[in-house]
């Protein structure tokens, strides 16, 4: 029975795919970029781009930093994945950032970058991003472009629907894609409907950016996919899409596509705060970790936390409502006015747009169509503002230009569809190459978008680039949206699989960019703040090397008296106080990585010498004309040898 159904779907998809390929084939020749395009993306050598673009690194676990309109890659910020280039997850100081309730987890799947906001406008303080696999949210400090904090989310599995911010960065919201037993336990997978639940998490952001799991809401066991905070009139609410309201636990591609409508969950988080204040929560004991990188100590500190406050919707009337939404909705996007909530139904023939004011009226008039686990389901007609007809196949995500238009990505038909808010008419469409997922307009999910460009984040590149074996580059495309018609400007490759991206005007960030860490403020317990303090200390078989670097030598650069079986810690402090002068440190046979130490910082590499002999170390970052001279030796003697501990530079 299922098999027959499956075959039908397969045939239908094949027809669609053929049409799409043929369609794209025609479009491509028609859509040749016009003559003045090079000028629009050309950023003269020595001049700056207008925008920073932060792309998720997908399965690389990193964040990519690009310039717009040039598409030039400036930096890869390691977040959830180890990066030996920057010793992220290899240096002793950064290892604590990877601690979870499952131990040291060196990788994750990063999906959605989200800029902090003030009054609904990106303010350039922080960038948040989710780790999907082992549920976490990270905060990147945009003055250093470095991961400053990672918090684990308890009672979650597949942290996909996050991290989306509220208007004044009060909260980051997160929803669990995979429903699981909460608390987790050993149950039969076929007991899904009985035992499996979802959670919506609210992560409080303190003034200094520190994150805390403030409360969670237990929701029916669907798949919660994406989210967005309300703004303006809808500030105080957050919206979450769900699919698999069928509650299937196998072959979801068929079994979770049965219902005509799934739900957008509308959560009144101000109401939630009241319930918390009144003590109407349960405390679930859950273990999770908060890891913060102390910029003064140049080290990560991992803190184990337990207990989280949980709200149960049936006990908290008015906390949450379901908005029926066709069909397996993916993105949920709130327009700049805060009135309209567009949902991209992967399998829907229209883009449904809900109205916040209609929703409030429907709640007041109790225009309900049943309930699920105590959550009232509002009538579709009562909350729907309009439907965008003919939006392309597989509409996923919508961003806004601030001039009354919305731009929706359509995955199956590989196009961006521009439509007018209010009339819901499609006014323009342009092909993307190929299979667009997310799209990004600078500030496009905020109250004040900078609606100059839209970036398409494509899943497949096929014939767009030089072939590189079975795996091809990931890619983005830049379109000019300043006129009535969208115009393709540029293709550029990206790292990982780009999911969402966000962009912000360069001048908001540039002025805050940190150039050095003042050496006087270095609070690392193993720092060497003056060359005269460089030394080697032995404590049993533990060796601490207090080492300083400056152009162009290490102190000490000759070390003797290390023995096989010793555990050696190289604590390297970069005494430079000049912009863009990091020093590297690498020692032969190290089982981890190099260090790359920023001016004024201290980093530590652990080294376990296995065999006697002489081991060179050297600076890996070309730092001056005498960089090739920046080297040293460690003499390793056999266990029990009487070679005295000795060190020095220049003697």
């Amino acid at each position: 029975m299922y098999r027959k159904y499956f075959n039908m779907i397969a045939i239908a998809l094949a027809i669609i795919a053929t049409v799409v390929i043929v369609h794209n084939g025609c479009q491509q020749s028609k859509d040749l970029v016009s003559g003045d395009v090079a000028e629009k993306v050309y950023v003269k050598p020595g001049t700056y781009d207008d925008f920073y673009l932060f792309t998720s690194g997908g399965f690389s676990g990193h964040v990519g930093v690009y310039g717009l309109p040039s598409g030039r890659l400036f930096r890869v910020i390691p977040v959830f994945s180890q990066d030996p280039e920057k010793a992220w997850g290899y240096s002793e100081e950064s290892k604590p950032m990877f601690i979870t309730s499952h131990g040291f987890v060196p990788w994750d799947d990063a999906h959605h970058p989200e800029l902090s906001q003030t009054d609904g406008v990106p303010d350039g303080r922080w960038l948040f991003i989710n780790g999907n696999n082992t549920p976490r949210v990270a905060r990147i400090d945009l003055s250093t472009f470095k991961t400053a904090e990672i918090i684990e989310i308890p009672n979650s599995a597949g942290n996909h629907g996050s991290p989306f911010i509220t208007q004044n960065s009060e909260y980051i919201v997160a929803s669990t894609r995979f429903s699981v037993p909460i608390p987790n336990k050993d149950v039969s997978l076929s007991s899904f409907k009985e035992n499996f639940k979802g959670t919506l998490s609210f992560i409080k952001i303190a003034k200094d950016g520190a994150m805390n799991i403030e409360f969670q809401i237990i929701v029916p066991g669907f798949n919660y996919d994406l989210a967005h905070g309300g703004k303006g009139p809808s500030h105080g609410w957050a919206f979450f899409t769900s699919y698999n309201t069928e509650q299937a636990n196998t072959l979801l591609e068929v079994n979770a596509s049965q219902n005509d409508k799934d739900f957008v969950a509308a959560v009144n988080w101000k109401k939630a705060e009241e319930y918390i204040k009144q003590g109407k929560y349960k405390t679930f004991s859950s273990t999770y970790f908060n890891n913060r990188f102390d910029e003064k100590k140049h080290m990560g500190i991992s803190e184990k936390r337990s207990d989280v406050k949980v709200l149960i919707p049936s006990e908290c009337p008015g906390l949450i409502y379901y908005l029926p939404t066709p069909k397996s909705p993916h993105g949920v996007d709130v327009d700049p006015t805060g009135e309209y909530i567009a949902a991209g139904g992967k399998l829907a023939a229209v883009i449904p747009v809900h109205s916040f004011s209609k929703m409030m009226k429907a709640i007041e008039n109790k225009e309900f169509d049943g309930e699920v686990d105590g959550i009232p389901v509002l009538k579709y007609e009562s909350v729907m503002a309009g439907e965008v007809k003919n939006p392309g196949l597989g509409p996923l995500h919508t961003e806004f230009d601030g001039n009354g238009y919305a731009y929706t990505s359509s995955f199956i038909s590989s196009e961006i569809v521009k439509w007018k808010i209010g009339t819901w008419e499609v006014v323009d469409r342009i092909p993307t190459y190929y299979s667009i997922g997310h799209l990004c307009i600078p500030g496009g999910d905020s109250r004040k978008p900078w609606g100059k460009y839209v970036v398409a984040l494509n899943k497949i590149t096929k014939d767009r680039y030089l072939p590189t074996g079975p795996e091809l580059t990931q890619s983005a495309q830049l379109f000019d949206i300043s006129g009535d018609k969208m115009k393709l400007l540029l293709d550029f490759p990206t790292i990982g699989e780009p999911h969402y991206a966000q962009a912000i005007p360069a001048d908001i960030l540039m002025k805050n960019s940190k150039k050095i860490f003042p050496i006087e403020e270095n609070g690392n317990p193993y720092s060497t703040k003056a060359e005269k303090d460089a030394r080697v200390e032995r404590n049993g078989n533990i060796i601490h090397v207090y080492m300083s670097t400056i152009r162009t030598h290490f102190a000490p650069d000759n070390i003797e008296g290390i023995k096989v079986g010793d555990e050696v810690y190289f604590h390297v402090t970069n005494l430079e106080q000049d912009w863009d002068i990091p020093h590297g440190f690498a020692v032969k046979g190290a089982n981890n990585s190099e260090l790359l130490i920023m001016p004024g910082a201290t980093e530590t590499l652990k080294w376990l010498p296995m065999q006697e002999g002489v081991y060179p170390f050297y600076c890996t970052d070309f730092c001056s004309a005498l960089h090739q001279e920046m080297q040293g030796y460690v003499r390793v003697s056999q266990k029990g040898s009487n070679v005295e501990l000795a060190w020095g530079t220049g003697k």
Partner: protein, 162 residues
């Protein structure tokens, strides 16, 4: 007693700073006119003698203050000593007699603004050719540069007179 001395030193330092920040116009009045016969560099006399940087006027130097000099010594240890020893060539030249070689104003300008001096000043260029290492900007502020100068004034005062 020590606190009182420190307070006095702080006030003294402020006074020192006030004497050279703010005006600095008069050195520019005779720009491009050289009256110094030794100056064949093509630079104006002021820059030739005192380098490029925020110090644009002769310093009014009060008698040596050993408390400030001691603070300068600490700054030297943390920010300079990785490259400069007092009595031997290291990464850069030996420094004990630096004030015999350059003016106090040049000393401060070089500490505060090494990049421009290395690029433009014949003395700094000559040192670069000799040591093959550009002097680094150690992000030292005006106040700390003045403390460093006081340390080298102290060392200078201890040198045998000619």
């Amino acid at each position: 007693m020590k606190t009182a001395l420190l307070n006095f030193s702080a006030a003294y330092l402020l006074l020192l700073l006030l004497t050279f920040i703010g005006c600095g116009g008069d050195s520019n009045s005779d720009k491009n006119q050289s009256t110094n016969k030794n100056n064949t560099s093509g630079l104006p006399d002021w820059e030739f003698e005192n380098g490029f940087g925020p110090i644009k006027k002769k310093l009014y130097l009060l008698p040596l203050d050993k408390v400030i000099a001691a603070e300068g010594e600490k700054i030297f240890e943390s920010k300079c000593a990785s490259c400069h020893k007092l009595d031997e060539r290291y990464v850069g030249p030996a420094q004990r007699d630096v004030l015999k070689r350059v003016s106090p104003e040049f000393f401060m300008n070089m500490v505060l603004n090494p990049e421009e001096n290395v690029e433009k000043h014949p003395h700094s260029k000559e040192m670069l050719a000799k040591y093959m290492q550009k002097m680094t900007n150690q992000n030292i502020n005006l106040e700390d540069a003045r403390k460093l100068l006081e340390y080298f004034r102290l060392l200078d005062s201890e040198l045998p007179k000619k």
